[in-house]
Structure formats: C-alpha cells, structure tokens
C-alpha cells in the first residue's frame, strides 16, 4: 500500500511517524463510555502504540465481542476494519479472519465477562492454537452495561456497589493463559500508560497469541470502597515485576539501561523487547517459576504486572497448518480449483 490518507487536522506542529501520520490519524469515533472509564485510557494507549509502530491503518483489524470494552474498537484506528461480533465469540471471528489473511495485524479487545464467562471456551482454544493476535482484556470485575453484576474475575470478598459481597473464587486470565501454554502473557493497569504502550506494541509484534490483562476500573459500578478493582485499590496493590520496552527492528536500542538490568528478547521480525526486571529473582522465560511468582503475589492480594512470560519460539496457527506465505484470500481461483482433468481422475475411484 502506497496511499496515505490526508490527516484530519494538518497542524504543522503535530509529530509524525515514519508514514507521515500523526496520532490523530490513529484515532476513531468518539467514546460513549462513562467519563473517567479506564477503558478510554487503554484506547489512548492503543492509539499511541499503533502510531509508534508506524502501522498502516488499513492493516489493522480490530475485533471484539459484546460489552463496554468491546465497544472501544470503534474508538481507535478508524482506517482499519472493525468487527464487533457477538458476546464471547470474538476469538473465533479472529481465527477465521486470520486464517484468510495472515498478513494483517489483529487486535482483539474484550472484557472480563466477555472472556472469562461466556467466552471462556473460545479464549482457551485461541490460546491453544496460538492464534497470532494481540488480545487485550479490559478487566474491571463487573458487568457495566447490565449495571453492576459481579464478573468471573471479581475477587473473593470484594463488595458490589449495592453491598453484596462476592464469595466465588475469581478466574485469573493470566494464570489460566500460563496453564494453557500461552506464549505471551502480560498484565498492566489502565492508569499506567508508560507500562502499557510498549506492552501493546510488543503484543502486536509477537508471533502468536499475546495476552494483556489490563486492570481497568469501572468508575460507575466498581470504584467504591470495598472493591478490589477500584482505582485506589489497584494503585495500592499493583507491583511491576518486569517492564518492557519495545524496540522496532529498524531502531537502535536506546542506551538508557545499563547492561545486566536489561534482558533483550528478539521477535520473529527482528524487533526486540527489552525486559527491565524490577525484581531480580523473577524469570519471565520460565513458565513454571513465573506462574509460581504470580500466584504467590495473588495470595497476598497483589498483582504482578509487566510482561510476565514470553516465548518467541512457539508455533502459531499457520506454522501448524502449513499455509503458504501468501494470504489465502489472495490466491487466484486458477490455483485453487483443480480443473476438469483432475476431476476425471478423481471419478475413477468411484466407478
């Protein structure tokens, strides 16, 4: 693609990326979520990440299910196609779309209800297939659109706005993904854009299923005292274990970090993720140890954040299926249909 659209506002001082696009070119429709919603911060982080990666807008495919979080795919990168599907079924739409065209960047946005309740099955199987996509959960522990019911990620003892106390254990998407063999597992907080933007960039470039569970407080239904998913509680109980800086292939590694603190991970396209370990004992390439550490902290009511686990050697769906480099939707019919002579040969078996 050589065509670039005209920026909506051509202010000379707006910074441009390598494609000559400003951040505004990566925006979408106006958000209709509540003022102060954590999800809007995540939308802003996705815009920042996409602009920073010089993504051609039309090459981004935005996918979602149903819920507050799923609405947000309309609020970023309006130059890319969006598919707001049905509740909990976004992974299957993503799977089909990715099967048809492996060249595009697939970004899924889901919520804790959409992923951990109605969509739990599809979520698990997308991980098993190592479907090449970035999958962001905007996790607030509550059903917003239906006004405040607990979701499956609600912690034991957390209090609903109307006073009800949750007694069922939560499903933690991060631990679940670790168990299922996910190749990229991260957790972050909607209020920590500095941590979130490079995580999203790394997730978009990771070859395989990249999960980012983003704690994203619901200002309307889950931001009160007694809630374990409020802004206040999250800020107090959140602890960065491994921060990641995403370095695209073309760019030099910045020399900000002293060698030794930084663990570089090279992605399939030559880009690098620089992992800055804040906790020396944490190893983000050891699945078992990482799982243990995450669980230890959860027991104390704390969330470890950052890029918690990464494996760049996993086979994604197309590796297993042995599909060609050219997207399936671009193969000419002449190469797909075997023709009448081949049919005649087939029929011999049925005489």
């Amino acid at each position: 693609m050589t065509f670039l659209p005209k920026p909506k506002v051509r202010h000379p001082s707006l910074p441009k990326n390598a494609l000559g696009l400003t951040r505004r070119d990566y925006e979408g429709g106006l958000s209709t979520l509540c003022a102060g919603c954590g999800h809007d911060s995540i939308t802003a982080a996705i815009i920042e990440a996409s602009w920073g990666l010089d993504i051609e807008p039309q090459n981004m495919v935005k996918l979602s299910g149903i819920g507050c979080s799923s609405k947000t795919t309309a609020y970023f990168v309006s130059g890319g196609h969006g598919f707001n599907s049905v509740h909990g079924r976004m992974p299957s739409i993503a799977m089909g779309a990715n099967a048809a065209n492996r060249d595009l960047i697939y970004v899924g946005v889901s919520g804790d209800g959409d992923t951990l309740s109605i969509g739990l099955g599809q979520f698990c199987h997308a991980i098993r297939r190592n479907l090449n996509m970035a999958y962001i959960i905007e996790n607030n522990g509550v059903y917003g659109l239906t006004k405040g019911q607990f979701s499956a990620s609600a912690d034991v003892g957390t209090k609903a706005k109307k006073g009800e106390v949750n007694q069922q254990p939560p499903i933690d998407p991060v631990l679940l993904a670790m168990t299922l063999g996910a190749t990229f597992v991260a957790r972050s907080f909607s209020g920590d854009k500095q941590q979130l933007v490079p995580l999203i960039q790394a997730a978009m470039r990771h070859k395989g299923f990249a999960l980012i569970d983003v704690l994203s407080p619901c200002v309307t239904f889950n931001d009160h005292e007694g809630s374990t998913k409020s802004y206040e509680y999250t800020r107090e109980h959140y602890d960065a274990a491994v921060n990641a800086d995403f370095v695209p292939f073309q760019k030099e590694i910045s020399a900000e970090y002293a060698a030794g603190d930084v663990l570089p991970v090279v992605l399939h396209d030559g880009s690098r993720i620089l992992l800055r370990k804040l906790d020396a004992s944490y190893d983000p390439t050891d699945r078992a140890a990482a799982s243990m550490a995450i669980q230890e902290r959860l027991k104390k009511g704390e969330f470890l954040t950052g890029l918690l686990y990464v494996d760049t050697n996993g086979k994604e769906f197309h590796d297993v299926n042995e599909t060609p480099a050219i997207p399936l939707n671009q193969i000419a019919h002449g190469r797909l249909s075997p023709g009448s002579a081949a049919l005649a040969k087939v029929l011999a078996r049925y005489r």
């Binding site: 969006g82 099967a99 065209n101 249909s337 087939v346 005489r351």
Partner: protein, 621 residues
C-alpha cells in the same frame, strides 16, 4: 416366484463392527460394474461395535434411486434381529441364514424360501483367529449371494484387488471366503434364483455408463475444493463429519503448492459449532471462501452467529446434513427436519437462503452455487442435505467441471474503486437490488468500516434511530427478494390438463419419481414440482396456483415445508396436503403410492400392474 432379472431388493442384517460394510459394498459395486443400476442404503446404529445394522441393496434396471419398500431377499446374520428380519421378507421371497446353529423359528413362515448356509462352520474350518473368522463369515455371505444372483466372481476379485491394492494378502483371504460361500451354495441349492443379476454391459449403452457411485458428503467436499473454498472450520458431528474428511482428503492431494509444499487451504477443527461458524464468518468477512458442515444440533448452536451474518451481511456457506431430531434424536438415521430451523435461524427478523440438493450429484454443484450465492448476496447460504444423501452411495451421472467457471465474488470494491470514492458507505443500496458494496480489510483506509450486529444506518454507523434502523431492515427485505431471482429454480413437470400435483424436495425426489410411475399404472397422473431452494420464486407460486390439490411429500413429522410454503407464498393452506414419512429410514416409493391412493380415487382404475412395466422417469439421468 416368477423370474425377475435386475429388479429386486436384498437386505442384509448384521452386527455393527463385524466387517459387513466391506462385504456389502463389494456386492453393490460388483453389480454396478456389471452395468446394472443399483441403490445401496446403510441403516447403522450410533455405536462402534455390537448393535444391529442393516444394509439394503436394490437392483433396479429402471435406475430408480429410492427404496421400493419391499424386501425380496433377506440375509439374516444377526440372531438378535432374526424375528423382525423374517417378518420383513415379501411373500414369495427368500431368507438366507447361518445354519451352523438351528433356528427353528425361521421356519415359522411357509410363504418364503429359507436357505441355510453353515457360514460360521465353513469359516471356522478354514480360517484361524476369532476376529478373522467373524470378518470372513460376512465376506462368505457375499459368496453365497454371488452364486444365488449369478454374479461374476472374476469381477469380485477385480474389485478386491482394487480395494486392497496395497495389501495383496487380503485379496486372497477374502477370495477364499467368497469361494467357500459360492461353492457351498452352488452345490446345495438351485442357482441362480429367479431373482438374478444379468450383466448389461453388452447392450448398446448400459445405464451405468457415464455414472459413478458416490455419497453426497464426498461430492460436497469435492465441490468445495473445486469452488475454491480456502477455509473449512467444523466440529465433528454425525452425519456431517465425512464431508469435512472428504474436503481434507481432496485438498491434501490437489491443493498443495507444488513449489513450496504449503497448503492452499486452512482446515480448522473448532472447539464447538459456535466457534466453527464464527471462524467461517471471520474468514468470509476477510475475503476467503469459507464453509462449515454440521447437522441439526449444530445449526441450533450456530443460530446466534447466523443472525449476525444476516444482519451484518457476511457471506457464509453451511452444509446441514440433516439427521433425526428433536434434540439428539437418532443421530444415524435420516430426516428432513431442519427446514424451518434453517429458513428462520436466529432471533429477530431473519431469513436465510437454503438449497435442497436431491442427491450427491446436486451436492457437488450446489456446493459451487452456494459460494457464488453467499458472496453475491452477502449472506449465509445453507445447503440442506441429509444422512441418506450424505452417507449412502448413490448412482449419479459423472460430475463435470467447467474450466471456464469464474467464481462470483459479489460486490467487493477493489483498491482502485475505493480510491475513486469520495466516501464509502457499507450498507447503501446503490444499485437498487438491495445488495450493498463491501470492502476487505487491508486494502485502503477509505474502505474501512465497522461491522456490527447492533443497529446501524445505511452508512454503516451505529444507530438507535427508528427511521435509520428501518431503512436497513427494509433493504434487507429487498435483498431477499433479489435472492428469489438468483437461487436455483424449482424443477417442474407440469401438464396443464392435470390438476393434482406432488411437491417434494431433497432426497425424497427418487421415491416421488418412482411413485409417479407407479401411480400412472394405477391410472393416476400427477404433476410434480421439486423445490430446490428458498426463497421461493414466482415459478413456485404459479405452480401452486395452477393445481387443485397439492401433496407435499416430506421426511418430517410436522410438514415443515408445507408450513414454509403457507407462510411464504400466496397458496391456500387447505389445498396443501402432507404426506409425511419420519421413521428415520429413507422414504420409499411404496409409501407415497399408498398415501396418495388413500386420498385420491384414480379416475380409471386399471388392473394392478407389476412395477416392472412402469415407464422409467426416475433415475439419476
């Protein structure tokens, strides 16, 4: 019994998992290869081993493709079902059983001939190993039938050699069993029976020339390969699984890039039917030809996504290989019971394009047509086959492929077209046919739009505005009206002098064709319309209008197609009369003849005529 050459039916009662399938297909194919038209139907249990199973072979010189409803020769190999198997034989017919053990109850009927062959004894004396003996006992009855029916043993050997090309030792052991049965029968009974097979190879143009024996799932899977499908997503369910197996088998052979060795298709076993149809939608939305195969329970699960596809206008191809419902029903038995479910699948005002293939040949061509229609109309297209079509081998004319075929990819804007647009509006009726233009991801930012199942305007934006919502919904009605012109037309045989008609569809066609011949011999002439698709075209309206009395023949309890016709055409409900067959076995011509005669007094009662003299209008030709 008077001699009846090439015109009788055999039923073989065995136990599931004992190798009888090989024996049965051996018998059927050897008859087919001798130039005589044949029909085969497998009635099998939902079980791997141990439950009763039957196979019906009809030798039919007139190329009829349905059950006659009568059994002339019964091979009773299963003690558990002896009693009912004996009852089913037509008076004057034959019963063959394993006389290793005495079965005095078999002699309860004096109007049939009972032939005892010590099959187990013969095999125990000649083969070692329990499993081998069981398998060979079943091959052995094929030898018995070969002698009784005058089949060519050399042809059987030839077939075995084809089947076991890679395991020549099996050819010899199987032939040994065939010969054991053959020799014993020749020595102990007058062979052949009056019911026998006479090869028709030497006659100018045998009826099997230019024909194949194939099942509808295989031909549908093959059709998908030829139509250019690149994404197949599915969840295993009887009786649809073999369609996906066939697609994979053919694609593995014919879709591997010779240079790279990579596969020009994606084959995805989903976690359930919900995911399977989701994958199809995702892939179709992204410009691939994608499909799934399932059965009624799967369609139930897919309802939500089918509604999304209807409203968001995403192409999809779905094969529904119908089986007996409700609920889990009888998974290995046949019915046409998803007619209404398919036509109106999902909540809200939804309607879907459905195709009703009559046999494996039409499954092949409808596979191609389904993709063209789905992409042209930007909507799901369901091909409603059934277990009888999908899993039984049918004699069909050779499948043909036109190399000049160009797939109809519908109204998809390319890069240049998008560039020229001032603004792209996804759901605008530009051409007045109700079909909007669509774009694919990855082409141009100006073509980007947001696909959603929530209310949207004709420009593609979210809406909760009544008028904006209705504009789109009304356009969808216009689009469905356009579909009436594009779907396959009904197959109509209409003599204006006749005012009684039969309406049928799908796998009932063969039985109806034969029944009409038989009714003709009773002095009852009928017109015939075979529905091939929904929505119904003007031709369907006119045909219904032109008749005083219309019998709707269906394989379900509730007369689902009759309901659909009443809802979707101008026809008066009172003149549609149902003939309903829903036992789980394929409908027979006899059922239709009896049903019609019970309701209509033929104008001129001729004496009963033997079906053999009936004029041929059936068959696959």
């Amino acid at each position: 019994m008077p001699e009846r050459v090439n015109n009788f039916a055999i039923k073989i009662a065995t136990v599931n998992g004992t190798g009888s399938a090989s024996a049965n297909s051996l018998l059927m194919k050897s008859i087919f290869r001798s130039g005589v038209p044949v029909m085969g139907k497998n009635y099998f249990p939902s079980n791997i081993q141990g439950l009763p199973t039957w196979y019906e072979i009809r030798v039919t010189k007139d190329s009829y493709v349905a059950r006659s409803g009568k059994i002339d020769i019964m091979v009773a190999m299963n003690a558990e079902t002896y009693a009912r198997d004996v009852r089913e034989v037509t008076s004057g017919g034959y019963l063959i059983y394993d006389s290793t053990w005495p079965r005095p109850a078999l002699l309860a009927r004096d109007d049939i001939t009972v032939l005892g062959v010590p099959l187990a004894k013969l095999c125990n004396e000649n083969f070692n190993g329990v499993r081998t003996r069981i398998l060979m006992k079943n091959i052995c009855y094929a030898g018995v039938l070969a002698a009784l029916l005058d089949l060519d043993v050399a042809k059987i050997r030839e077939l075995l050699a084809d089947t076991y090309a890679k395991k020549p030792a099996l050819v010899d052991s199987n032939m040994k069993a065939i010969e054991l049965g053959y020799k014993y029968t020749k020595e102990n009974f007058a062979c052949p029976l009056p019911l026998k097979v006479a090869p028709q190879l030497l006659e100018g143009g045998s009826k099997t020339r230019g024909h194949i024996m194939i099942d509808g799932n295989t031909s549908a899977g093959l059709g998908c390969v030829f139509a250019g499908a690149t994404v197949g997503a599915w969840y295993p369910i009887t009786p649809s699984t073999s369609l996906m197996d066939a697609f994979k088998m053919f694609a593995d052979k014919m879709r591997v890039d010779p240079e790279s060795g990579r596969k020009n298709f994606a084959f995805i076993q989903a976690e359930d039917e919900l995911a399977a149809i989701g994958m199809v939608l995702g892939a179709s939305w992204n410009g691939a030809r994608a499909f799934t195969a399932t059965s009624g329970p799967g369609v139930s699960l897919m309802n939500e996504f089918l509604g999304l596809a209807y409203y968001a206008e995403v192409p999809a191809v779905l094969f529904d290989i119908q089986r007996v419902g409700p609920s889990t029903g009888m998974p290995t038995r046949t019915q046409q019971c998803d007619i209404l479910e398919a036509a109106y699948a999902s909540h809200g005002d939804t309607k879907h394009v459905c195709l009703y293939p009559k046999d494996p040949e039409e499954c092949f061509y409808f596979a191609r047509d389904a993709f063209d229609l789905a992409e042209r109309l930007q909507t799901p297209v369901m091909v409603l086959s059934d277990l009888d079509i999908g899993m039984n081998d049918w004699m069909c004319p050779d499948l043909k492929w036109d190399d000049s075929y160009v797939p109809d990819r519908g109204k998809v804007l390319g890069l240049e077209e998008i560039r020229k647009l001032e603004k792209f509006h996804r759901y605008l009726d530009v051409d007045g046919d109700g079909i909007p233009y669509r774009t694919l991801p990855g082409v141009h930012p100006k073509g980007a739009y947001f696909t959603r199942g929530s209310g949207h305007t004709q420009y593609g934006a979210y809406t909760e505005d009544s008028a904006e919502y209705q504009i789109v919904l009304d356009r969808l009605t216009r689009k469905f009206h356009t579909a009436r012109r594009l779907v396959p037309k009904a197959a109509i045989e209409h003599d204006p002098k006749v005012d009684i008609a039969i309406v049928a569809y799908g796998s009932s066609d063969g039985a109806v064709r034969e029944a009409r011949d038989l009714l003709g011999s009773h002095g009852l002439t009928t017109n015939y319309m075979r529905l091939r698709s929904f929505p119904f075209g003007e031709d369907v309206e006119k045909f219904l209008e032109a008749h005083k009395l219309v019998f709707v023949v269906e394989q379900n309890r509730d007369g689902q197609m009759r309901s659909l016709l009443t809802l979707e055409t101008r026809v008066e409900k009172s003149k549609l009369r149902s003939l309903l067959h829903y036992s789980g076995l394929p409908i027979s011509s006899e059922f239709i003849v009896k049903g019609l005669l019970a309701e209509v007094e033929p104008k001129t009662r001729k004496p009963e005529v033997v079906p053999a003299t009936a004029k041929t209008s059936g068959g696959a030709a």
